[in-house]
C-alpha cells in the first residue's frame, strides 16, 4: 500500500531534465549565462543550443582571448534565444556582446528590438536612438522610433521619424502606414487615406490596411466606401522591411515553432508563407505527421495538388492510419479523375473512423459510378444517419432506392426526411417529382406534389423545378396548367442554353397539350 502511494506521488514530480551548465562570466563586467532545461525542448532545439554553447565555451577558452570571436558567439546565442523568445537569456547575450565589442549596430539594434517586444518603454527608445547614431542610414530604426512616438501619443515626432525613414527607403510601406496613423490621430483623413493607399500599393497583401482605410472613410462620412474597405480587411499587417529583425526567424530550427508559425500564417490566409513554415517543420521533424498534413492542406489551397498529394503520402509513410492524410488523398485524387486511387484511401478512412460521413459520401459516389449500388446505398444510408441534416446524403439514399425499384421504401424515406427538413429545396424537389411521377401510380399524390413543387419554384424558378411542377399539375389532371408551366420550363431551359432539357421538356409539353389524361408515364 505504501509503495503504491509513493509511486502515485512520484508520478506527479517533474522528471529531472538534462541541464547545461551555465557559462560563467570570465570578466567582472560580463554576466554569466544560464541555459534552459533541455529536456523540455524539442531535440533539434536541444542540439542547436548545445552546439552554440560549445562554440561560446570554445571561444572563451581560446588564449589569447579574442573579444570579437567571443562576441560573435554571444551574438549567435543571443539571436537564437531572441528567436525562441527567451528574452531574459538573449538580453544577457546582447549585453555581453556590447561590452566585448562596443558600438556594434546590430547588437544595439537587436537589444532595442528585445526591449520593444517586452514593452520596456524608455530602454527601447534609448537603444534605438543609440542605434540610429551608430548607423544613421538604416531606415527601419526610424520606423521603430516613429512607432514608439505614436504609441506615446507624440505625433509630431512620429511624423518626423517616418519621413526620415522614407528619405532612406522610399518604398517602405511601414513608414507610409505610420504616416497614415499620424494623420488619423490628427484627424486629417484625406492625408491618412493617401498614405494608406500608398502603403497598400507597395504591399498589396497587407490587407489589414483596408481596415484603416475603412476607418478613415467612415470618419469622412462615406459609409459605403468604409464598408467596401472593411470587407477587404484581413489579418495581414504591414511588416517593416527590417532585415535584421526579420532574419531572426532563420535561427529557429524548431519544427514545433514552424508549425505554430505556419498555423498563424494559414489563419491569416497567407498560404504561401504557411507552406514554407510547414515545409521547414517537416524537415525539422522527420517523424511528424501533422506538419506534413498541414503542408499538404496548404499546398492544395495553393492549387499545387500533386505536391499536396505527395505531402500527404509522406505523412502516411510515418503513420499509415492518419485519417486526414487518407481523406485528403482521397479527395484530391477523386478531383483529379482518379477514383481508383481515391477508393482505397476513402475505404481506409471509413475503416478508421466509421462516423466520417464525408468519406462515406465520396466513397458511395465512386461505388455508385461503378454500379455497386448496394454498397453505395449502405454508405449513403449511414451518412444520412450520421448527419441527418446532410441533404446530399438524404437525396442520394432516396435516389438509389428509386433506382433499385424500391418505390414504396423510397416514398416512405422521402416522406420522413422531408417532414424533418422542409426547408431543403433539392430534397423537396425530389419528393415532389417522385410524388408526381412515381413508377407505381398508386403511390403518386398530385395535389401534394403541386404544393411541394410550387414551393421550390417560388424559391427558385429553375427549368427543372418548373418541369416538376408541370408534372404535378398533369398528375392532378390539370393539363392546361401543366402546359402553361411546362412552357415556362422550356423557356427557362432555353435561357440557360440547356438543349438536352429543352428536347425532353418539349416532348412532355406535347403530351400535356393533347389533354387529359396527361400524367407522366
Amino acid at each position: 500500500m505504501i509503495t503504491m502511494l509513493l509511486l502515485l506521488l512520484a508520478g506527479f514530480q517533474e522528471q529531472p531534465s538534462p541541464m547545461l551548465n551555465p557559462v560563467p562570466a570570465f570578466r567582472e563586467d560580463l554576466q554569466a549565462l544560464a541555459f534552459p532545461e533541455l529536456g523540455k525542448l524539442e531535440p533539434k532545439v536541444q542540439e542547436q543550443i548545445t552546439t552554440l554553447r560549445e562554440e561560446l565555451v570554445a571561444a572563451i577558452a581560446e588564449e589569447p582571448k579574442q573579444a570579437n570571436t567571443i562576441r560573435d558567439a554571444y551574438m549567435k546565442l543571443g539571436r537564437t534565444f531572441h528567436a525562441y523568445k527567451r528574452f531574459d537569456l538573449a538580453e544577457i547575450c546582447y549585453r555581453n556582446s556590447d561590452i566585448l565589442a562596443p558600438g556594434r549596430f546590430e547588437t544595439v539594434y537587436l537589444a532595442a528590438d528585445l526591449a520593444r517586444i517586452q514593452g520596456q518603454d524608455d530602454r527601447m527608445e534609448e537603444l534605438y536612438r543609440r542605434a540610429m547614431e551608430i548607423l544613421p542610414t538604416y531606415h527601419s530604426t526610424y520606423v521603430r522610433l516613429g512607432d514608439i512616438a505614436l504609441t506615446k501619443g507624440n505625433v509630431d515626432e512620429a511624423k518626423m521619424m517616418f519621413e526620415e525613414a522614407l528619405k532612406r527607403e522610399p518604398i517602405e510601406a511601414a513608414a507610409y502606414f505610420g504616416l497614415g496613423q499620424v494623420a488619423m490621430e490628427q484627424r486629417d483623413f484625406d492625408t491618412a487615406i493617401t498614405h494608406f493607399e500608398k502603403a497598400l500599393s507597395y504591399v498589396n497583401e497587407a490587407n489589414r490596411i483596408h481596415y484603416l482605410l475603412g476607418m478613415a472613410w467612415r470618419n469622412k462620412g462615406d459609409v459605403d466606401k468604409a464598408k467596401h474597405h472593411l470587407k477587404l480587411a484581413g489579418k495581414r499587417g504591414v511588416k517593416p522591411m527590417d532585415s535584421i529583425a526579420n532574419n531572426l526567424i532563420h535561427f529557429v530550427e524548431s519544427g514545433r515553432v514552424h508549425i505554430a508559425r505556419g498555423k498563424a500564417a494559414f489563419g491569416a490566409k497567407d498560404y504561401a508563407g504557411a507552406a514554407k513554415e510547414f515545409a521547414q517543420a517537416a524537415s525539422a521533424l522527420p517523424n511528424d505527421t501533422s506538419s506534413r498534413v498541414n503542408l499538404g492542406t496548404t499546398l492544395a489551397l495553393l492549387g499545387k495538388k500533386q505536391e499536396a498529394v505527395d505531402a500527404f503520402r509522406d505523412a502516411l509513410r510515418i503513420d499509415p492510419n492518419n485519417v486526414s492524410a487518407n481523406y485528403n488523398i482521397g479527395v484530391l485524387t477523386l478531383e483529379a479523375g482518379r477514383p481508383d486511387l481515391a477508393m482505397p484511401h476513402l475505404q481506409k478512412v471509413v475503416q478508421l473512423d466509421p462516423k466520417d460521413a464525408s468519406s462515406r459520401m465520396r466513397l458511395a459516389g465512386i461505388l455508385k459510378n461503378m454500379g455497386r449500388l448496394q454498397e453505395a446505398y449502405g454508405h449513403y444510408d449511414m451518412a444520412a444517419k450520421l448527419e441527418p441534416k446532410n441533404e446530399d446524403a438524404l437525396i442520394q439514399r432516396a435516389y438509389l432506392l428509386i433506382q433499385a425499384g424500391k418505390n414504396e421504401e423510397a416514398m416512405k424515406v422521402l416522406a420522413e426526411d422531408w417532414e424533418l427538413n422542409q426547408n431543403f429545396g433539392r430534397l423537396t424537389h425530389l419528393y415532389a417529382r417522385f410524388l408526381a411521377a412515381c413508377p407505381v401510380k398508386s403511390l403518386r399524390n398530385g395535389t401534394k406534389a403541386v404544393d411541394l413543387a410550387q414551393r421550390v419554384v417560388n424559391a427558385s424558378p429553375e427549368a427543372e423545378y418548373l418541369e416538376t411542377l408541370a408534372m404535378a399539375h398533369a398528375q392532378t389532371g390539370d393539363c392546361d396548367k401543366a402546359v402553361e408551366v411546362q412552357t415556362k420550363a422550356v423557356e427557362a431551359a432555353q435561357a440557360v442554353n440547356r438543349q438536352d432539357q429543352v428536347s425532353r421538356m418539349n416532348a412532355e409539353l406535347a403530351r400535356y397539350r393533347k389533354g387529359a389524361p396527361c400524367e407522366s408515364e
Binding site: 517533474e14 517586444i117 502606414f177 490621430e185 459609409v223 472593411l230 524548431s254
Partner: protein, 561 residues
C-alpha cells in the same frame, strides 16, 4: 504661524508633488477577518487551458442588510471527478472544491468580519467554475446568482431567507460548454432580466492537443487551437423560465468570448451588448429596439484595434472616463499587445484612443483580465484597474505556475489621459500573482469603491479603499423591487459639472460588481439634481439630495426631466 496655516501649506505641497506623498489607496482585509478564500485550479501537468482562465467573483448584498457579501468561484479537477488532493497543487480546503459565499458583517465600531455561509445557504456549486453574475431574475427583491462553468452552468435563485435553490433545469439556462462572463439585463424592456453569456471555445479534454511555447517547450494552448464557441442569449419569460434566444445573435462569426458588458453605446435608449473576444474580432450587438440585434463592431471601430488587428480581448469595462456623456470602453489584452481604450465619438463611432491616453506602452508586458472603471479618489474622474497574469509559461520565472505578473492602477488625469500608479495600491499591485476576476463595490458602504481581486491558484484579496478628502454621493437605482440594471444616472453638481454613471453588475472578467452608483464629487458639497434614464427608456428628474451618503431612487417617484 497658526497650526491651521501649516496644515494648508502641507496639503499644497502634497498636491503639487503628487504620488510620493500620497497615502496608500487600500487596506487589505486579513484572513483573520474570516475571508480566507483560496482558489484551486486542479492543474495536473497537462496544461489544460481552463486551469489558467478562472476564477471570477461577485460583490452582492445577498441578505439585503446593506453591506456587500462575497461570492467566490472555485475550480476543481480536470476532468471532473478526480482526486483534488493529488493534483500538482493539492486542494487544501474541506470536502470537495466548491464556490464559497461569505457573509459580510460590520459592527457598530466599523469592524468588518466575514463568515463562510456556503453550506448554510444551500449552495453546492461544485462545477469547474469560471465566473458569476448577479441580478434579481424573479423580481422578488433579492439577488440571484448565475454561475458559469467549464461544464453545465447553474442558476441559483435566492429564496429570500438566506438560502438559494438551484433552478437551472426549470429555467432552461444551462450551457454545457465553456462559458465565461455573463450579464443580466432587461434587453427587451419587458420588466425582467434577460441573460447573455459569452462562450469561449469548443474543447474536449479527451482529445486535447499539445501546444508549444516559442522555445518549443510544452505550454498552454491559445484559443486558436480550438473552434470558437457561439455566445448564448436567453430571454426571461417572467415565470421562472427562459427562452433560448441565441438565434437573435447568430449573424456574426463566432468569437472566443471572455468579457461582456452591457451599455447604451449609441445613446438611443436601448441597451446594447459588447463582447470581448480572445483573438477574434469583438462583437457589438446593437439593440435595434424591435426585438432584434445587429452586429456592428467592425464599422463602429470596436471590433479591432486602431491598426486593424484582432486582439486577445479578456476583460472589458464601460464608463464615461472623459465626462462627455457617453460611455467609453476599456479592454485588457495579452502581453505584446496593448490594452485598448475605445473612445466614444457618438453615432456608434469609436476611436482607438489608447496611445493618446497614455495606456499603450504601459500594458505591453502584461496579460490583463479583470478590469473596471473605478473612481479611487472620489474626484469625479474614473480611474482604472487592470488585473494581470500571463497565459503562457514565463520561462524566466520559477515555480510550478509561472504566470505571475503585477496588477496595475491608472489614475485619470481629468479626462486627458492616465498615469500609472501601482505603488499606491500596495502589495496587491506591486507583488506578482496570477490575477483574473475583479469585482468593484463599496463593501463597507463608506462612500468609496473597494476592490475584490480574485487570483487563479492562490488567495483572493479584498482591498478596502482608505478613502480620500473628497466628497461623494451614493445612489441605488430601483425599478419595482430590484436594482434597475442598465439605468443611467446623471448627477448635476452645484458647479455645473455633470457625472454620468450606469447601474450594472456586468463588465470586468467573469465577475459581478455592486450595482449601486458612486459619484465622486471632489470638493463639492452640493448637487442640484439627478436625471435618470431607466432601462425602459423613461426619463425622470430627481431633486437635489444630501451628499456624503447613499440614497435610493425608485422608478416612478421622480419628476419630469
Amino acid at each position: 504661524m497658526s497650526y491651521s496655516r501649516i496644515c494648508t501649506v502641507l496639503f499644497l505641497v502634497s498636491a503639487l508633488f503628487g504620488s510620493a506623498a500620497e497615502a496608500p489607496l487600500f487596506t487589505e482585509v486579513k484572513p483573520s477577518s474570516g475571508f480566507d478564500f483560496v482558489h484551486y485550479n486542479g492543474m495536473n501537468g497537462k496544461y489544460y487551458l481552463p486551469e489558467i482562465m478562472n476564477p471570477g467573483g461577485a460583490l452582492f448584498d445577498y441578505d439585503g442588510d446593506g453591506d456587500l457579501d462575497l461570492y467566490l468561484v472555485q475550480g476543481g479537477t480536470l476532468p471532473a471527478g478526480g482526486d483534488a488532493s493529488k493534483t500538482l497543487v493539492p486542494y487544501k480546503g474541506k470536502g470537495v472544491p466548491k464556490d464559497r459565499l461569505y457573509r459580510t458583517d460590520i459592527d457598530k465600531s466599523g469592524k468588518i468580519s466575514f463568515t463562510d455561509v456556503t453550506d448554510k445557504a444551500g449552495l453546492n456549486a461544485t462545477g469547474y467554475g469560471m465566473g458569476v453574475t448577479t441580478g434579481d431574475v424573479d423580481n422578488d427583491g433579492d439577488l440571484d446568482l448565475y454561475v458559469t462553468n467549464f461544464g453545465p452552468n447553474q442558476l441559483w435563485l435566492n429564496n429570500g431567507d438566506g438560502t438559494f435553490s438551484d433552478t437551472t433545469a426549470k429555467a432552461g439556462v444551462s450551457d454545457p460548454g465553456l462559458s465565461t462572463s455573463a450579464a443580466f439585463i432587461d434587453l427587451d424592456r419587458d420588466g425582467d432580466l434577460d441573460l447573455f453569456m459569452a462562450d469561449y471555445v469548443l474543447m474536449n479534454l479527451d482529445k486535447y492537443p499539445n501546444c508549444y511555447a516559442s522555445d518549443s517547450s510544452l505550454d498552454y494552448c491559445g484559443p486558436d487551437a480550438f473552434p470558437a464557441a457561439k455566445d448564448r442569449f436567453f430571454l426571461n419569460n417572467g415565470d421562472g423560465t427562459f427562452k433560448d434566444a441565441t438565434s437573435l445573435i447568430r449573424d456574426a462569426e463566432a468569437g472566443a468570448g471572455l468579457g461582456v458588458v452591457t451599455c447604451d453605446l449609441d445613446n438611443d435608449g436601448w441597451l446594447d451588448i459588447y463582447v470581448a473576444n480572445d483573438g477574434d474580432p469583438n462583437h457589438l450587438w446593437r439593440n435595434k429596439g424591435d426585438g432584434t440585434f445587429e452586429e456592428i463592431g467592425l464599422l463602429a471601430g470596436v471590433a479591432l484595434n486602431g491598426v486593424g488587428a484582432a486582439e486577445a480581448g479578456m476583460g472589458v469595462t464601460a464608463g464615461d472616463f472623459d465626462g462627455d456623456g457617453d460611455e467609453d470602453l476599456f479592454m485588457t489584452h495579452l502581453d505584446e499587445e496593448t490594452n485598448t481604450l475605445y473612445t466614444n465619438q457618438g453615432d456608434n463611432f469609436f476611436d482607438d484612443g489608447t496611445n493618446s491616453a497614455g495606456l499603450a506602452m504601459v500594458s505591453m508586458k502584461y496579460t490583463g483580465f479583470g478590469t473596471g472603471w473605478i473612481d479611487l479618489d472620489n474626484d469625479g474622474w474614473l480611474d482604472l484597474v487592470a488585473l494581470n497574469g500571463a497565459v503562457r509559461v514565463q520561462a524566466e520565472k520559477k515555480g510550478i505556475f509561472p504566470l505571475q505578473q503585477a496588477n496595475q492602477i491608472f489614475m485619470n488625469l481629468a479626462g486627458k489621459g492616465f498615469a500609472e500608479a501601482n505603488e499606491r495600491g500596495g502589495s496587491a499591485f506591486t507583488d506578482e500573482e496570477v490575477s483574473r476576476g475583479a469585482a468593484i463595490g463599496d463593501v463597507d458602504s463608506d462612500g468609496d469603491a473597494d476592490l475584490l481581486i480574485i487570483n487563479c491558484n492562490g488567495p483572493a484579496r479584498l482591498l478596502l479603499n482608505n478613502g480620500s478628502m473628497n466628497n461623494w454621493l451614493g445612489l441605488r437605482l430601483v425599478t419595482g423591487k430590484r436594482d434597475a440594471l442598465g439605468a443611467q444616472a446623471t448627477v448635476h453638481t452645484a458647479s455645473g459639472r455633470k457625472l454620468y454613471r450606469r447601474a450594472r453588475t456586468d463588465g470586468s472578467y467573469c465577475s459581478a460588481r455592486d450595482p449601486r452608483l458612486l459619484f465622486g464629487l471632489a470638493a463639492e458639497k452640493k448637487i442640484t439634481g439627478i436625471d435618470v434614464i431607466w432601462p425602459d427608456g423613461k426619463k425622470e428628474r430627481f431633486p437635489a439630495v444630501e451628499t456624503g451618503r447613499y440614497h435610493t431612487l425608485t422608478q416612478g417617484k421622480g419628476g419630469k426631466p
